[in-house]
């Protein structure tokens, strides 16, 4: 079996088993509500970080506006699900349509934003994505959508006027946030996560993924072998945005009231930290890093009151240590030595075993 296929199967299988085990524990009532809530949020963050890994790891471009795409997914899906449920559609259908709609909207905006952004590279691209992320957030901070018997009313910076009070339904309320129906549960998150993982893995392990990696590794050489650089960069960026949109949709439906300012710069950086510390280009790394790094501050919260005050400090120290462990030459040498030792003892075992046989 090919190495990539094997790796993908391990990652996918591991995630699947984890989801099933946690799901069964949850159904059996062994987990408290806090842990269940944590699982949902971590699942959403994993979807976001693996999708960002497509841009940062596979495409090799630092995107600082990933939260912006989650923002589009969140608010557009909330509009759809609220309207559908209000119109009498069943919850599951509304939610499925809402997630897909969120992903599509994020993909469309990802594509449109990608056209100018993908002309840039490196630092410039990072700065521009940062800008677009903030613009998207501010946009939803100012959009009001209200429905009544006459249809939809839109407002920008001010709520729409002349609304029939008896059938009034506020959907997006600008900076006051949006209350979407609480539909996200662990099973939905697990299902979306697994689907997104499959899409990412199959995309990366196809000619399109190879083209993206070729562009990442050497722009000029990629052109010289006939790769349409812009096309593949745009494709990966759009796919990454679409999956982030789905994550945003799930996020929106997991909280009682979602404020647009939740999708700010900090969220983008938080996800980026998961991707970078998990390893660029490694989906498995992103998954593990998200679980570990999200759980640490939450677990610290649970220990005792003294620690709670310092938990972000401890979190920061852990991040710095992890960064050093990954990148400082001293630790890299140390890791390699340990690896070599393990290998040696393994081969020694094999040869001695062979001699005995």
């Amino acid at each position: 079996m090919r190495k990539t296929t094997k790796n993908n199967l391990i990652t996918f299988g591991g995630t699947l088993i984890l989801c099933v085990v946690l799901g069964i524990l949850m159904q059996a009532g062994k987990l408290n509500s806090m842990t269940t809530g944590l699982m949902v949020t971590i699942g959403i963050y994993i979807i976001a970080s693996t999708s960002l890994n497509l841009t940062v790891g596979v495409l090799g471009e630092l995107s600082l506006g990933h939260a912006g795409f989650m923002c589009i997914g969140a608010f557009s899906s909330a509009t759809v699900s609220t309207l559908m449920i209000n119109g009498g559609a069943p919850n599951w259908l509304s939610f499925a349509v809402a997630i897909i709609f969120g992903a599509i909207m994020a993909a469309i905006l990802g594509f449109l934003i990608g056209i100018p952004v993908m002309r840039l590279r490196g630092d410039y691209l990072a700065i521009v994505t940062l800008g677009f992320g903030e613009i998207l957030k501010s946009l939803f901070n100012n959009i009001y959508i209200t429905s009544d018997k006459n249809g939809l009313h839109f407002g920008f910076t001010n709520p729409p006027k002349n609304i029939d009070a008896s059938t009034k339904l506020e959907i997006l309320r600008g900076p006051k946030g949006t209350s979407a129906p609480d539909l996200t549960n662990f099973w939905v998150v697990a299902a979306v996560l697994l689907i997104c993982l499959i899409i990412l893995m199959t995309f990366i392990d196809s000619k399109s993924g190879r083209a993206c990696m070729a562009v990442r590794d050497n722009y000029i050489a990629a052109q010289s072998v006939g790769i349409n650089v812009t096309k593949f960069r745009l494709m990966a960026f759009t796919l990454s945005a679409a999956i982030a949109g789905a994550a945003g949709a799930l996020y929106m439906h997991s909280l009682a009231n979602m404020l647009p300012k939740k999708f700010d710069y900090n969220l983008s950086i938080l996800i980026l930290v998961y991707v970078v510390l998990g390893g660029l280009g490694s989906l498995r790394g992103s998954i593990i890093a998200t679980i570990v790094l999200y759980a640490i501050p939450e677990l610290l919260r649970g220990i005792n009151q003294n620690i709670v005050n310092y938990r972000m400090l401890i979190y920061a120290i852990i991040l710095i240590c992890l960064m050093l462990w990954k990148n400082a030459p001293v630790f890299i040498n140390m890791r390699e030595k340990i690896k070599a030792k393990c290998k040696k003892s393994k081969t020694a075992d094999l040869t001695s075993g062979g001699a005995e046989a």
Binding site: F203, R210, M213, A214, G226
Partner: protein, 282 residues
Amino acid sequence: MSELEKNTPEVQGENTAVEQKAAETSEKSSAPMLEVRELSIQFGGLRAVDGLNLKIKKHQLYGLIGPNGAGKTTVFNMLTGVYKPTSGAIFLDGVNITGKSPVEINKSGIARTFQNIRLFKEMSVLDNVKVGMQNSTKYTTIEGILRLPRYFKEEKLMTERAIELLKVFELDGEKDALSANLPYGKQRKLEIARALATNPKLLLLDEPAAGMNPNETEELMNTIRFVRDKFDMTILLIEHDMKLVSGICEELTVLNFGQELAQGETSAVLNDPKVITAYLGD
């Protein structure tokens, strides 16, 4: 001009079988595979290449030599579309390709290697070659994501072809290694393999022997000859190693300060007093 050139009958034959192609070309053997007319490029006040003329016949091994800074790599960059020439025209197999983008030029049949090796370092040796076959695979991204039968069929074919190519360069043993981990000589070979994977008509090699010891150079000369014969390839190469140049090139063009200094049969050119002066000084 370009319209006329595009409509010449020589354009056809991209999808025809190799034998047919060979038969066609024997008829028009007088027509050059690559023709460069009065090619010039100006960077600000500097005329890096000035009025270069080249004619390379099919199946020829042609050398482009000259002292450092003569403009050799600039010529390659113009031939492959990295730079747009200020004036002049380039014809590949009768088709005007002047000013096209690198991607279009590669699709029309020119592949190259680089002076400073440019491999896809974080990808495996096999994947490097498969990237070169990108444009000859037809399955779409959606088919790839959904893993439809065409994906498996074409990926399998691609892998087989890539391994065949790697065997030619004795790289099939390292097909799963990261290309950055290959020794220098093998990296150069992999670059040639990747260029050949795009099915070119003309192969441009930019200093293939740079940094090689005499034994490796000897081996490389054999490889280049072998590639030319096995793939029925036309090769244009830049080289400083005179042993390699005199050993395999049939014709040479010598550039000096962007201008053509001498052109013709290898032995005649290398004994030209002007060329010797350019290299060694007065």
